[in-house]
């Protein structure tokens, strides 16, 4: 640059050479790396060539005589397919070492067999499967599938546990919205503007306690179970009145929920109309075992009494198979006499009283006498009201209110 001032030329050169030096350095490094790689490759190739020469010299040195006779075609085919026993294979290979003709046939047939095996889908699949890479991938997939299966199984169990608890709310809904029996009407009328039953008020807290227990015992919910959980929570938070308008569950969970909700309705009106926690537990038992609840109709009314303090409608009189206690019998008389009992009720009471008398070993004399007096009152041909009055008199003043 003859025409340029010296300082300009210097600065230009400096600006141009700084990145160039880096590029050159990088390029030299790359060149060196490439050279090293090439040298390694050449070295490896030389080593292999030396090995090949050594091997060929060793082979050229001596040519052994073929041992035994040439293989028959079937033996050759069986050898190719690996169907010969090890002790049969050794002589064949020893023969190949000395017989170039058989060796060439062996090579050609082996190649043909390999091609055929590659062509057939099953063998291709077998070869694919036998690859270590495929095995590793398949193992990982299986492990992942097993993990998912275990996870889904756990969450399904959680869903089922949650679903079995669902009927407590639908039962309440059905009873509240469905037809009410005469006695329950009376009960409601008696209560009048009384405050809501304490058990019902306790219900959300009880529910949350149960939820916490479930959360402790179960792993976190999946999406599927979460779909159900908010619905249930909404209902609980909104209380019993909101529950009269049930949310619409969807899918399998909804079907199960509906099915579970139908069961109490199928059992009949023996299920109490309250939704207290203890009563709910009894209802669950009644739901899961309808036969049992039918056999022991006292359980539901007692639970209802404990939960709400109001008597539940009496179930149809059934001759009990379970042993009856004196207190139960008294309770039945008191509860029954609060309504309008029919002749069947008195007949049942008579039968039960006689049954209790038969078990007189467990009774005091006073109790026996009381039973006899009650039976005598039951035997009088009077109207239902008179009979009830007589019975309650015999039972005493405690019979005016429900005995705990």
């Amino acid at each position: 640059m003859p025409g340029w001032p010296r300082s300009c030329a210097c600065s230009y050169e400096f600006a141009a050479t700084q990145p160039q030096a880096e590029t050159v350095q990088l390029w030299r490094h790359k060149e060196q790396t490439t050279k090293n790689a090439m040298a390694e490759t050449i070295e490896l190739a030389k080593k292999r060539e030396a090995e090949r020469r050594l091997a060929l010299l060793a082979l050229a040195g001596e040519q052994p005589e073929p041992s035994g006779s040439c293989l028959d075609p079937e033996e050759l085919a069986a050898l190719i397919e690996g169907r010969l026993a090890p002790e049969q294979v050794e002589p064949c290979l020893a023969h190949f070492a000395g017989c170039e003709h058989c060796y060439a046939l062996w090579l050609q047939l082996n190649r043909e067999w390999q091609e055929q095996a590659g062509r057939s889908g099953r063998n291709r699949l077998r070869r694919l499967i036998s690859r270590p890479r495929f095995l590793a991938a398949a193992g990982s997939l299986l492990a992942a599938a097993a993990s998912i299966a275990v996870f889904l199984n756990i969450t399904t169990q959680v869903d089922r546990q949650a679903l079995t608890r669902l009927p407590k709310q639908p039962v309440q809904e059905q009873v509240l919205s469905g037809p009410v029996t005469e006695s329950s009407d009376k009960t409601i009328a008696k209560q009048g503007s009384a405050p809501p039953p304490p058990a019902a008020a306790k219900h959300p807290s009880e529910q949350s306690r149960m939820k916490e227990q479930a959360a402790v015992s179960a792993p976190p919910l999946t999406e599927g179970s979460k779909k159900i959980a908010p619905t249930r929570t909404d209902r609980n938070e909104s209380g019993a009145l909101d529950a009269a308008v049930p949310a619409q569950p969807t899918g399998l969970a909804a079907k199960q929920e509906r099915r579970v909700a139908q069961i109490p309705a199928e059992i009949g009106e023996s299920v109490p109309a309250n939704a207290g926690m203890m009563a709910e537990k009894k209802e669950q038992e009644a739901t899961s075992l309808p036969e049992k609840s039918a056999a022991t109709p006292k359980a539901a009314p007692q639970a209802a009494l404990r939960a709400t303090g109001t008597p539940a409608p009496l179930p149809a009189p059934v001759v009990e198979a379970a042993p009856l206690t004196l207190a139960d019998w008294h309770n039945r008389i008191r509860v029954g006499c609060q309504g309008q009992p029919g002749p069947d009720f008195f007949a049942t009471l008579t039968t039960q009283g006689k049954q209790l008398l038969r078990q007189s070993a467990a009774l005091h004399k006073e109790e026996q006498r009381q039973i006899e007096r009650l039976l005598a009152a039951l035997g009088n041909q009077q109207s239902a009201g008179q009979q009830c009055r007589a019975l309650l008199e015999i039972l005493g003043p405690a019979a005016q209110g429900p005995k705990q």
């Binding site: 090995e51 060929l56 040195g61 079937e74 046939l105 090579l107």
Partner: protein, 268 residues
């Protein structure tokens, strides 16, 4: 009988394929395939009736076909015994010798055929073909003749009670063998490769087991992958690599024990 015929016809494609691979020319391959069918049908399918079920029928028919194709080649082109050095080299050398000198294929055809039979050996086949043509001046002169000429002129393998003349011929043949081997193996250092030295190396007391010999043949002569060679010999891929490494180490050790370590280092 009909069933054997039908079963053979189901493998007609394979027979045709093997014939085409053996003889590149279409007419020749078709003729050979028909020869194979005739051979199989001979004596009321006696070859197939001899099948006892030790292998699959397809592989058995494949083995029969390969043998019958060789029979066809012999019937068509005659027999010839290759020179000792070709026999010693074996593999593609032997195949090329038959293709070039007996069946008189052109070098290109012969190279293509060898490439078909031994995949991955095309370049080696090309070198070997021209080397063969250079070393054997009379290659391809006796096509279609039932000749015993070369077989007679080349002495048979050493017999214990051979005459002195035969022994001398044998020595000459061995010398010739190692001269050619020197040219083939050490092309770049041919002037330094003394045939006697090579003979000393080759006869340095290598004692190869049949399986070891086959392993060397498969891996270094016929270009078979080491893992595949191991499978053919009944070893897994780890066993075969280990055995090959130990075998080569043992060969080097044998040469060192014979006092040829320095020569080996210079040559190899």
């Amino acid at each position: 009988m009909n069933s054997w015929r039908e079963q053979t016809l189901t493998h007609w494609e394979m027979i045709n394929r093997l014939a085409g691979r053996r003889f590149h020319q279409v007419e020749l391959a078709e003729e050979a395939a028909l020869f194979v069918m005739d051979g199989l049908a001979q004596d009321d399918w006696s070859r197939l009736r001899a099948f006892t079920g030790r292998s699959t029928l397809a592989t058995y028919i494949g083995a029969l076909t390969l043998r019958l194709l060789e029979d066809f080649a012999r019937a068509r082109f005659g027999r010839i015994k290759p020179p000792l050095w070709v026999r010693r080299l074996g593999g593609i050398w032997l195949t090329l010798f038959h293709l070039l000198c007996l069946e008189r294929f052109s070098p290109d055809e012969a190279i293509a055929l060898v490439g078909d039979r031994h995949p991955g050996q095309a370049k080696a086949a090309e070198e070997a073909a021209y080397r063969l043509l250079g070393e054997i001046a009379s290659c391809g002169e006796h096509r279609g003749e039932q000749t015993e000429l070369i077989e007679e002129t080349i002495p048979a393998d050493p017999v214990e009670e051979c005459s002195a003349q035969e022994h001398r011929l044998e020595q000459e043949e061995r010398h010739h063998l190692f001269t050619i081997l020197g040219r083939i193996f050490f092309d770049d250092a041919a002037s330094e490769a003394d045939p006697r030295l090579l003979e000393r190396i080759a006869t340095a007391g290598f004692s190869l087991e049949p399986k070891e010999r086959l392993l060397l043949k498969l891996c270094y002569r016929d270009g078979v992958a080491v893992a595949e060679a191991g499978r053919m010999l009944g070893w897994n891929r780890y066993q075969v690599h280990g055995r090959l490494r130990r075998l080569l180490e043992r060969l080097r050790q044998d040469l060192a024990n014979a006092g040829l370590a320095e020569e080996l280092r210079l040559l190899l």
